[in-house]
Amino acid sequence: MGFINGITLLLIYQLVGEASVLLLDIPVPGPVVGMLLLFTTLLLRGGGGEQLESTATLLLNNLSLLFIPAGVGMLVHLDLIAAEWLPILLTLILSTLITLSATAAILWLTNRMLTRRS
């Protein structure tokens, strides 16, 4: 029963998230809004209980699996990608390297500067 209760709660928050995105016309996906709503609830209530926690852990431990069907979608664009594969590949690799290292460096620096001051 624990898993059913947990997943029901998550789906309710997702549903409320989807509905508010539609009603308020915000350009972000419903589940992201649902996540922020659940986070707020957890802060207000001081935790979510064992059932929610075990369901969340189960889903998040297998998060990789959930991206596979979208990834297989590459099949539809094989021709387009083949035509421009080199600039695409270089852009993806270099931009990922730049973003990873720049964000890590900025957070490390700002964190050090601000903690030193206080």
Binding site: V32, T55, S64, I68, A70, M74, I88, S95, T99, W108
Partner: protein
Amino acid sequence: MADNQLAAIWVYLSASPLLGLTVTLLAYGIAYRLYMHFNANPLLNPVATSVAMLICLLLITDTPYQAYFEGGQFVHFLLGPATVALAVPLYKQWAKLKKLWLPLTITLLCGVVIGALSSVGLARLLHAGLQTQLSLAPKSVTAPVAMGISEKIGGLPSLTAVFVVATGILGAVLGNKIFALMRINDDSIRGFAMGITAHGIGTARAFQISPEMGAFSGLAMALSTFTTAFILPWLLGLLGFF
């Protein structure tokens, strides 16, 4: 006669969701065992190997993606509740989050701009077509949002989805190598950088390393989703893309 029967069974099965769902789980099971067998070598990222296996399978059996997705959608659907579930580990990091809010905000804004500009700029420098450049711009945010942004700025949403998954895999594969080279071993910093760059796939990888890295990656993913959705169209407009 036997051939005919086999063909009939195949026609029936390939049209039902059962086959697509089963091969997705099987591919992941094989990919995950392979990954574990080689001591979690990031080059054998389970998303990448599963996707490669499934694409080969679909090409060999001449199955269209739509037929596969009839079954794949059940797994795909769980992305929604899994995104909501990110609130749980995030809540556990609340104390640390409160302490770090200012550096996190600064990093978030810089990271979103750097991610978008570096991809559009590099693609332009390397003479990719305009549509490819624009489709690459939102590649660091989670697929459904990236596709929405791509449509808004004149990219090709389904192509963007491919770039999003590729970026996630690259981030998951390269992340820890880069952080080790930079001698950054604070899991909150590593997680936040991972989430801004490589959204959910990076977050999945981060959870394998530690719950703290996963929580910060999930937070970065959620925040950068919001920030990118609002900033990117405006930023590209400023640069004269449309």
